[in-house]
């Protein structure tokens, strides 16, 4: 909700040319090191990956944090089946490889427990793999000018604006993440974090069982698409706690201006089993069921108007 005011505020401020942002040097002293976990188990066929790295000083100029190698990484499901993850290239990227190309690791309804033994400490995380609805359709129409969110120096000035349609399950508390790929490339910027609580944007809202609301449908067009672009939308189920994680990560990435909130902790579900140990973890171990829908932009299939 705060983003709404921020947009309005920035519009005014931008127009008045009064405000300015200057990049500055902040020397933030390095504090203790955290183990950073990045990994989401899915129900898609193929490899599953869990990455381990070490935290850096805030605002560190290095984009390649130290990889945590030589760790023992295992995931166990609630039936006791164990999946072993191996750091094949010694780069902190632990991979589970299926025996066949069709073998899937994740199953909806199962609970997965991650166990990591790294550098003398043992960490653990638990996550349930939740259900996900299928995407009904992707619809697009031609626009001769981009909207506010699609405006940017490197972005197309005209093209196709797309919406996707999917319906939330009945039952409060389904959480989702929407990922968008253009010609196979994920929109991965800070502004591309799209998450849903039931069919709405926020947790305190009640949108159970609805078709995803308009702002979510539209979020698959961070820019206008060109003829023949391949547009793929992935809808992943996430746990409510993972939704909280993404909500706060997004807030922290966009926490600026008059209406900034104090820096807050981004939740983490990976815990050191030795609670008295000083070594803590950050990041998230997630489990997702994934559905996707892909279209190739074709002017003959474009609609004149969205049916909203």
């Amino acid at each position: 909700m705060k983003s709404i005011i921020k947009t309005i505020f920035s519009l005014f401020i931008g127009m008045s040319l009064m405000s300015c942002e200057d990049v500055i040097n902040l020397n933030v002293p390095e504090t203790e090191k955290y183990l950073v976990i990045e990994g989401t188990i899915t129900d898609a066929a193929g490899e599953q990956v869990i990455k381990l790295s070490e935290s850096q000083a805030l605002l560190s100029s290095s984009t390649t944090p130290r990889a945590i190698t030589n760790a023992v990484v295992k995931v166990t499901d609630n039936t006791g089946k164990v999946y072993e993850f191996k750091d094949l290239k010694n780069e902190g990227k632990y991979v589970w490889s299926p025996a066949s190309t069709t073998e899937k690791m994740g199953t909806i309804g199962k609970t997965y427990t991650l166990k990591i033994e790294a550098e003398g400490e043992t960490f653990q995380a638990v996550s349930e793999l939740k259900r996900v609805p299928k995407i009904d359709s992707i619809v697009y129409k031609y626009e001769d000018s981009p909207n506010l969110n699609q405006t940017g120096d490197d972005k197309p000035k005209e093209g196709y604006d797309a919406n996707f349609y999917a319906k939330d399950f009945v039952g409060v508390g389904d959480c989702y993440r929407v990922k968008v790929y253009k010609n196979g490339k994920l929109f991965s910027g800070a502004e591309n974090i799209v998450i849903a609580y039931d069919a709405l944007l926020n947790k305190s809202s009640v949108g159970d069982g609805l078709m995803f609301i308009l702002p979510l449908r539209r979020a698959i067009s961070p820019e206008l698409y060109a003829e023949n672009d391949k547009l793929k939308v992935e809808l992943s189920s996430i746990t409510e706690a993972h939704f909280d994680f993404w909500t706060q990560l997004r807030t922290e990435l966009n926490n600026s201006g008059l209406f900034a909130t104090p820096a807050a902790r981004i939740p983490c579900n990976v815990i050191n089993v030795n609670s008295s140990s000083k070594k803590k973890a950050a990041g998230w171990f997630g489990t997702s069921a994934v559905t996707s829908f892909e279209v190739t932009i074709d002017k003959n299939k474009a609609v004149k108007e969205f049916n909203d």
Binding site: M1, F9, F12, M15, S16, M18, S19, C20, E21, D22, V23, I24, N25, L26, T31, V36, E38, E54, S55, L58, L59, T63, S145, G152, L186, S188, G189, A190, E191, N192, A199, S204, S205, V206, G207, D208, L210, M211, I213, L214, P215, D244, E252, L253, S256, G257, L258, F259, A260, T261, P262, A263, A264, R265, I266, P267, A282, G283, W284, D308
Partner: protein
């Protein structure tokens, strides 16, 4: 009652002879007895004296002294006096209706009055005369930063100020977030800020009372004021309805940024609306010597958006009756209505009713409030009265529709009634010592209209429960009071004259505050919700002690004061990490309660007379909180904590044509919080922070110089009236003053490409350049 056969009373009104406005705080001095009194807010006075013949000297700064002889022999005397503005001496720049030695002689301390003529001479942002920005130049008053809504008094939050517009509370004092205040300078008569020693008649907020009185309207002749500035165009009309009996004022302002911006808006933004406006109106009717009625109203709104709309605003309506029961007993009875509301609508044009989102919120007041003043004798003035104040809260109600399916949700309406009664006495113990003492009793009954209510349960801080509390839902009877609170609020002030021109003053007050503004952002936003005290949220209780030394120099040419204060604040509210305060029925889960303390030293020196006038104010202060679970359960500075605040305001009158103004501010930076470390998650920088970090770093300090020049013309545009040009430059030396420091993803890396996004540190300046402006004002 209290018949004193050997004594009689002289009473009446003191007014300005040019426009008939009652003079507030004018002095009536009895030459023979060396005693006297001052007029109240409505210009009324009453003096009970032994039988005899007297000379009354009526005086007030900026007005000619008037001497009236009265015979108080066989009956009470009514004496109404109209005094003439002292237009002869150019030196009298500051025209306000108070005693010259008020600073030293009045019992009140921690009180600042600035009259509109002074405010109008302060160089202003974009040339817009602004009451709230002007009071921020006073000692003990600060703000969280440029453009922030509201103001902070002596370490209190923005919601701890009771802002009264003709006795009706105003819930958001800003237009355009915090850039301009809602008060039209052409319609304001008097401004008084009470920071300490708050008399018993006021209650309901913890830190200060900003009492704004609107003009009554010229009762003698038609008067038109107006102006064209960078932001607003203004027009006000005041005139008698029945000469000397009834008059009115209507004042309107509208911004025209939208009109100017129109050519620069393209595409989706072409239809964008950006405007804010306000309308202030008042009528008064002086029925007879003993009865005057007033009706005043305010309506203002900020409107933003195009297809998507967002608007907010205040409206108030107050009706007052001044009645003189006898020459000793004065009544002001007020009934008021006040409302603050906002609306967000994703489909303002109603193009997509099946896929819309609509969200409203409001707080509404209805109140009746009789205030009596009983002038027992020159040594004792008794005030007593009460108030019934009804609150209707709609914290947030939203409707979302998707493909025609609708869902309604939000936080259910709440209702509360605040009852209060008070009695206070101002007592002259001796020629040197005066006391003001009183007590206020307040009671608050909270009712929830939901069929459930919420109870906080302690579960311990975790990622799932950042506040350490969960919520239990319990059945509620909407017809029963769910929670009541009551408090006695003692008030005390004393003044001891240490010489003809100096005094020591001390005060203590306890304030109970039953409503709270939910705001977890650096500056408060127009969306922030006022919420009731509930079974979970206890009323804030604020105790303040203050001590001061006041001295005037050079025949009252200079006023100086030194004050120190200490405040203890109970039941203060802070917010847990990841708090969700909007449309959330269980928002109380995200609150964290603790206590606060604030203390400071204020130095103030003011020059009242001569070609050069102005003031210097310096504040050294600290405001802190202690909340279990935040900042490792240790004291931390509030987000509006500022160590040093220095303001210099100067106005120089060269001749009748030209005058100049300047002000300089130096203010220490506010605290902010920064994370400890960072990692990468799916290519995005993920900040690593402890739970409940508060204010571990400070924003660099702020300083700024503004100047203005005013050129008065004898004639306005059409050869009539008078006019002036005001030229001003805000932030003269073009400093990029920091509002805040934060991290954000680097722009080049934030583009939609697979890879790693890096964070960078950014300093934000809300006003990052010097801003020149020109304003034209006219008066007929």
């Amino acid at each position: 009652m209290f018949a004193q056969s050997d004594k009689l009373t002289v009473s009446g009104y003191i007014k300005d002879n040019k426009n008939g406005e009652g003079l507030i705080g004018a002095s009536i001095f009895v030459k023979e007895l060396m005693t006297g009194t001052t007029t109240n807010t409505y210009g009324f006075y009453s003096l009970t004296l032994p039988k005899g013949n007297y000379s009354l000297i009526i005086s007030s700064v900026g007005y000619r002294k008037s001497i009236k002889d009265i015979k108080l022999i066989d009956q009470n005397v009514t004496l109404n006096v109209e005094v003439q503005e002292d237009g002869q001496e150019l030196a009298e720049v500051v025209v306000n209706a108070k005693r010259e030695d008020d600073n030293v002689q009045a019992i009140e301390m921690s009180v600042n009055k600035i009259d509109m003529k002074t405010i109008k001479k302060i160089p202003a942002l974009l040339g817009e005369v602004d009451l709230v920005r002007a009071i921020q130049l006073l000692p003990g008053v600060s703000t969280v930063g440029e453009g922030a809504s509201g103001f902070n008094v002596r370490g209190g939050g923005v919601d701890q100020n009771l802002i009264l517009l003709d006795d009706a509370p105003v819930y958001n004092s800003s237009h355009l977030f915090g850039f301009f205040s809602i008060f039209n300078p052409d319609a304001v008569k008097d401004v008084k800020l009470i920071k300490g020693g708050i008399p018993a008649q006021y209650g309901g907020r913890g830190a200060s009372i900003l009492d704004v009185k609107m003009k009554e309207g010229n009762a003698k002749k038609l008067e038109i004021n107006g102006g064209i500035g960078a932001i607003f165009s203004r027009l006000s009309i005041e005139a008698p309805i029945v000469k000397d009996k009834a008059s009115f004022i209507v004042a309107a302002r509208r911004s025209y940024i939208d009109v100017l911006a129109k050519p620069f808006l393209t595409g989706d933004n072409a239809d964008s609306k950006f405007s804010f406006y306000d309308l202030t109106a008042k009528v008064n009717y002086n029925i007879n010597q003993n009865n005057t009625v007033f009706l005043s109203g305010y309506f203002g709104r900020d409107v933003f958006g195009n297809d998507f709309g967002f608007n907010w605003g205040n409206s108030t309506l107050s009706a007052r009756w001044n009645h003189v029961f006898s020459s000793k007993l004065f009544l002001n009875a007020t009934a008021f209505y006040s409302n603050y509301d906002y609306l967000l609508d994703s489909d303002l044009a109603n193009k997509r009713p099946n896929n819309a989102f609509r969200w409203t919120s409001n707080i509404e007041n209805l109140s009746f409030k009789p205030d009596f003043t009983y002038y027992i004798n020159p040594e004792n003035t008794l005030t007593f009265g009460g108030q019934v104040l009804n609150y209707d809260f709609t914290p947030g109600s939203a409707t979302a529709s998707s493909n025609g399916d609708k869902r309604t949700f939000g936080s259910a309406p709440k209702n509360a009634v605040e009852y209060s009664a008070y009695v206070g006495n101002e007592m002259k113990v001796s020629s040197k010592l005066s006391l003001q003492y009183g007590i206020r009793f307040s009671r608050y009954d909270y009712t929830s209209k939901e069929d459930v209510y919420y109870e906080r349960v302690k579960v311990g801080i975790s990622d799932e429960f950042p506040s350490g509390y969960d919520i239990n839902t319990k059945p509620n009877d909407p017809n029963k009071v769910l929670q009541s609170y009551q408090n006695f609020e003692p008030r005390f002030s004393m003044k001891l004259e240490t010489s003809e021109s100096s005094s020591i003053k001390a005060s203590y007050n306890r304030m109970a505050q039953y409503i709270h503004l939910m705001s977890n952002t650096a500056a408060s936003t127009p969306l922030d919700v006022w919420t009731s005290s509930t079974n979970n949220i206890k009323p804030q209780l604020i105790d303040q002690v203050a001590l001061g030394f006041f001295k005037n120099l050079g025949e009252n040419e200079y006023e100086t004061s030194v004050e120190v204060y200490y405040k203890d604040l109970q039941n203060q509210i802070d917010y847990a990490d990841r708090s969700d305060l909007f449309l959330n029925p269980e928002f109380e889960k995200d609150l964290m309660f603790g206590k606060g303390r604030a203390y400071g030293l204020e130095l103030y020196g003011k020059k009242n007379k001569g070609k050069l006038t102005g003031w210097v104010s310096y504040t050294l202060a600290r405001t802190e909180r202690l909340v279990e679970g935040l900042n490792n359960s240790d004291w931390y500075p509030n987000r509006y904590d500022r160590t040093h605040t220095l303001n210099v305001v100067a106005q120089y009158e060269v001749n009748k044509k030209w005058s100049f103004g300047a002000n300089f501010a130096y203010i220490s930076g506010v605290p902010y919080s920064l994370g400890k470390a960072q990692g990468y998650y799916e290519g995005l920088p993920i900040g690593i922070t402890d739970n409940g970090v508060r204010g571990n770093v400070r924003v660099p300090s702020y300083h700024r110089l503004d100047i203005s020049a005013t050129k008065k013309n004898k004639k306005a545009l059409f050869g009539k009236g008078e006019s002036e040009w005001v030229f001003s430059v805000y932030n003269l030396y073009n400093r990029r003053n920091p509002f805040s420091i934060y991290t954000r993803p680097k722009e080049e890396s934030a583009q939609s490409q697979v890879g790693v996004v890096q964070n960078e540190a950014v300093r934000l300046s809300i006003i990052g350049s010097f801003i020149p402006s020109v304003t034209y004002n006219f008066k007929f």
